[in-house]
Symmetry: C2
Subunit: 293 residues, 2 copies
């Protein structure tokens, strides 16, 4: 009988380490900077969050026997992923975008501070992501920064597709394209980046990451329909109310759930040959579709 991987403890460990390192970075920035701006930056960066992207990068790095310590390249990459992810949330929440008041159970940055500060915090976090990632002499950082830049651009394109789609029915192909760009790109980069940090090459992890990105987004869209606001820490049922183009909206809840499971199974099959070292990554792949938040 095999003992199930302690995924919740694993995620707690990663998020504890990520939070501590981000706090260190924010504190270093605080000196000499504009108080309100630094405060808003810290507020955005340290607002909780699952830290799933750093976890995926670290687990993928572990699968290829890389350094998963706080001082290693995979963690550095994980922090930069989290900065890009956080910036995208801050900008997505803006009144001219999704106009959200609540994020991770707290007022969004433009609500807590103001719109101009939210724009600048997002802009600054994107710069800081690249600065953090490149502040090492590790020659692999450059490849990771290129990967990150491409994913970050793709993510913005996804947001643009989303805006362009407003009020228009999308085909299944279009919804898949939107999901691959908007969330898939950064998750795929996380998984591929871990392998690159460990071995200098992506080792098929870009494709595994694509699958996990898709599974993650379907699960997210399902949670929007089935979970409540308190659990999510953001407004639930918003996609439905806004008539957003999602796979559950297009195919129904049952079929969407089946798709997420199927794509997760594909990812697990691709990870199988990596053996015991990929245990955390496989557990994350399962978590992505079974999570309740």
């Amino acid at each position: 009988m095999s003992i199930p991987f302690p995924i919740e403890a694993y995620l707690r460990d990663v998020s504890g380490r990520v939070d501590a390192l981000l706090l260190q970075l924010a504190e270093k920035r605080r000196r000499g900077a504009v108080p309100r701006f630094s405060e808003a930056m810290e507020y955005a960066l340290l607002g909780g969050g699952k830290r799933l992207r750093p976890a995926l990068a670290l687990a993928s790095c572990e699968a290829f026997a890389g350094d998963v310590g706080d001082g290693g390249l995979a963690m550095r990459f994980g922090l930069s992923l989290e900065m890009i992810h956080t910036y995208s949330l801050v900008h997505d929440d803006l009144p001219c975008m999704d106009d959200d008041d609540l994020r991770r159970g707290r007022p969004t940055v433009h609500k807590r501070f103001d719109e101009a500060t939210a724009v600048l915090v997002g802009d600054g976090l994107q710069s800081l992501a690249f600065e953090t990632l490149l502040a090492t002499s590790d020659p692999r950082a450059s490849a990771l920064a290129a990967l990150l830049a491409t994913a970050a651009f793709h993510m913005v394109e996804g947001q643009a597709i989303d805006i362009a789609a407003e009020g228009r029915a999308l085909s299944e192909r279009e919804v898949l394209e939107l999901m691959a760009a908007k969330t898939g790109a950064l998750i795929a980069a996380a998984v591929a980046g871990g392998a690159i940090a460990a071995s200098g090459e992506e080792r098929g992890m870009l494709s595994v990451g694509d699958k996990l990105g898709l599974a993650f987004q379907i699960a997210d869209d399902l949670l929007d329909r089935t979970a409540d606001t308190a659990t999510l820490g953001k407004a639930a049922g918003k996609d439905v109310a806004a008539g957003k183009a999602t796979l559950p909206a297009l195919l129904g809840i049952e079929e969407a759930r089946r798709r997420a499971d199927a794509v997760c199974t594909e990812a697990l099959a691709a990870l199988e040959p990596l053996g015991p070292r990929a245990e955390a990554l496989r557990a994350l792949a399962r978590f992505v579709v079974t999570r309740k938040r």
Copy 2:
């Protein structure tokens, strides 16, 4: 008798090359992307502009005998500088920031398109800057990307200082700090980056760039007071109307002009030992304070 350096022809040559390369990049992006987003991106990127930052990077690279061709690292860096600069203009013009309707003689991006698109265009251009810069196997690209990230972050901090200062009188020290961050950082990076592209080291050009950045910003603030809207391609007299903290506002026009000249003279003195190869860079240093637009 020495023949004056043909600075206008030099700038025309650089901007022609930069525009052609940016258009190529935009056209490559256009395929398969969201039409409105691509169009807005192109609109922002190809709206004219002096292309002063690429010119500084190329001239600095030339001063250290580097490759200043279209396929060289200095031009690649120049394009990424221009993308960061353009993104900052698009976001600075937003209603929640400076709320400008006119830029380079045309409606600003949020006026011509919409606010959400303007946010995304800025976000995407920042990613694209790093993607473009890192899409080469040249090992110096990594150092340039780190330089660019630090400058881009500094620029955002400058904008945050500017916002925080609204309605409050700044000391001379604070105004200088604001200028060094908001425009100085990217101009200093341009001059230092050219030297790094050529030789792998900044060769004292960060300090020269700091001086040119300061001279540039004083000249800009003077133009806001002395030139008209048609010449500037953006609303003239806006800083005065908004009570912005500038050196001309603090010290008067004559004293501000004297400061710009003095700091330019310092930069020229530092460039003197570089001999004839630094002729274009010295001409740019003079142009920065004597320009009429």
